[in-house]
Each structure stands twice: as structure tokens, then as C-alpha cells.
Subunit: 139 residues, 3 copies
Amino acid sequence: MKSFRKELFFNTTKRMEFINITSHVEKALEESGIQEGLCLVNAMHITASVFINDDEHGLLSDYAKWLEELAPHEPLSRYRHNLTGEDNGDAHHKRQIMGREVVVAVTGSRLDFGTWEQIFYGEFDGRRRKRVLVKIIGE
Amino acid sequence: MKSFRKELFFNTTKRMEFINITSHVEKALEESGIQEGLCLVNAMHITASVFINDDEHGLLSDYAKWLEELAPHEPLSRYRHNLTGEDNGDAHHKRQIMGREVVVAVTGSRLDFGTWEQIFYGEFDGRRRKRVLVKIIGE
Amino acid sequence: MKSFRKELFFNTTKRMEFINITSHVEKALEESGIQEGLCLVNAMHITASVFINDDEHGLLSDYAKWLEELAPHEPLSRYRHNLTGEDNGDAHHKRQIMGREVVVAVTGSRLDFGTWEQIFYGEFDGRRRKRVLVKIIGE
């Protein structure tokens, strides 16, 4: 069994932001030399998500609006977590809706995807440098 | 290390529909010959989910009602995604609540489940032929 | 390839409760002797979650309040599932928001975590003995 690990880094400029990271994960898979196995991609932050969906501009803005309805940023007093001095209580909730991680099959040295599947990093407390972990096992 | 891949196909007849696919995944596991490992089951579509819960008719209708409250199908104008000509903006949201995939332990050639765990395909933009991927690695 | 399996048991005293199980998973990893691989941690119950987030008291109480808003326990008649004689319809919904499982990378014999990642068992129909499965594969 082979294993491969890589950290990806992203500089986010807005509080909430979605970044298509598929090509970065594909590059990691190529570097790994793994042909058959499983590829884990997870946010290393607890106010961020990794998820798979469609790379369509309107949909991503729909997600932003919907997540803001389900877990509004303001009023800050809505979240006891913000009593710690943080202002990211909402981000911890948004991340639970969108998920921490994806696991993708690796088949014939490629991400084994349906037609429209793309991997996104979802940032909910951005404006700093953030990390995503790629771990691939197989052979 | 062994790996095994199989696509499952389902013809859905309604827009929203839940199909218990546990026996199909068990059959794939049997075909794989894998005794110890991990089994990934994921929707290959971005308006569908694979999830694990109880096979109880009332619960599945509760899910349908609740998902419709959290991400209503109409008005179609609610979703910028629908400006592309699609009418499935809601389905992309429902899928995020229910999840894309499950990872199940394989122990002693069987899905290593609690008493009531059953695997479902959740369709949110149905009435066509859909695919689910099963990928098993182990030995 | 090595594989390792362990069940963790928890006695929950409240209907809704969050238990930090990170040290239990770390102990299982140590017992496994696995240095590189993937570690699956999943609830074996369908009214419970395993998820990763921050071990901050205020945040956990925020989650409890938010989940109660998204899927209220009462009125019991809200859920057709409760017609079976159960009163846990809400718990099946809360679990879908928070997720069934996490998959964690194992690197250098350790859980490969970002700074604040902690693993929680989230109970939504508690006051009895509950099980969590840890399955690790790798070498």
C-alpha cells in the first residue's frame, strides 16, 4: 500500500468564498503515482468546508445566500461562541451544513467523478491563509 | 491491497425519491471478495445524495417535507442557478443537507453496521436514469 | 495492508449531548499500530452523529439551540415517524445536519489534524448506552 500527503494553501479575501480546488487535487493525485485507492480531501479549519458540487456562478451565490439565512453572521450576540471574543459563530454552523471533507474514489490514476462533480473549498471566516489536506492511499 | 469498483443504476420516477440500496452495496461487496477495508458509496450526480438512516416510511416522508421547507423548489426565481435554464436549484441545496457519500467499514466480508443502518440513494431532481459509485479497498 | 476495528461505548445522560471522543480515537490508533492510512469514525446509531469541530462550550450550546430550531423535538406530531410510537423523529433530522461519520488521515502514527480539530459524538436521542465504530486501514 502506498500513501501520499499534501497540504494545499489558499489566500481567501472575503469572509465567505468558494474556491474550485479540483485541479489542485488532480495534481496531488498525479504526484502520488497512486492508480487505485481513496482520496480524502478535508478542510484543516473548523470554519471551512470541502464539498463537491457544480461550478456554476449562480449556484455558488445561491449557497452563500442560503447559508446566511440558515446561520446569519449577525447579530453577533446570536452565538454564545462569540462571547469568547470571536465573531465567527456563524461560520462554525455553515461549515456543518456543507461538510468538512470529501472522499473520492481513485480509478485508473484519476478522480472517479460523475460528469459535473467539482471539489470546492468553502470558506466562512476568511481573509487569511488557509489549509486543505489531501491524503491518498492505494497502490 | 485489492480494489473493486462498480456503478449502480437507478431509474427514478419522481422529482424527490429515496431508494434503499443496501442490498446492491452488499452484492458489490460480495463480488469484490474483500474481507477487511473501507467501502465508499457516492452519488455521481450533484443533485442527489447517498446517506445512511432508518428504512421507515414515515421518516422518509418527514425528510421530504423538511427538505422542501429548508430549500423549496418554488418559486424557481428563488435560485440564480435556475437562470441557466435549469429548474433544479433546490436539488443542489437538498443534496448538501443529506450529503454526497458514505464510507462504511468492511469487517469479516460484511458491511460493519449498527442495528438500523441502511444505505439510501436520495434523489432530488429525478425522473431519469441515475448512477451511484461503489468503490471498495482492502484485502 | 493492516486493518483495525474497535467499538467505543458511551453512556449519555441527556436527550441532546456532545462528547469529545478525540482521546478515545487516538488510543484506538495507538493500539492499531498503523502509521499511514485512513481512520473512519462513525455513529452506529441513526439518531446520532460523529463530527469534527471546536471544543468550546459556548459553540456546543449554540449547536444545540440551532439544531432545535432546524428540527424541533416538539410537537411530536410534527413527524410521521413518531406515529411508530417513537418520539425521536427530530433526532433523525438533527443527525443529517451534523453527519454520520468522519474520515481522518493518519500520518506518522497520528491523527493528521489542523490546530483546532476535535472529534465529537453528537447524541440526539440519548439516555442510554451508545456505540461508535472506529475502523483504521493502512500500514
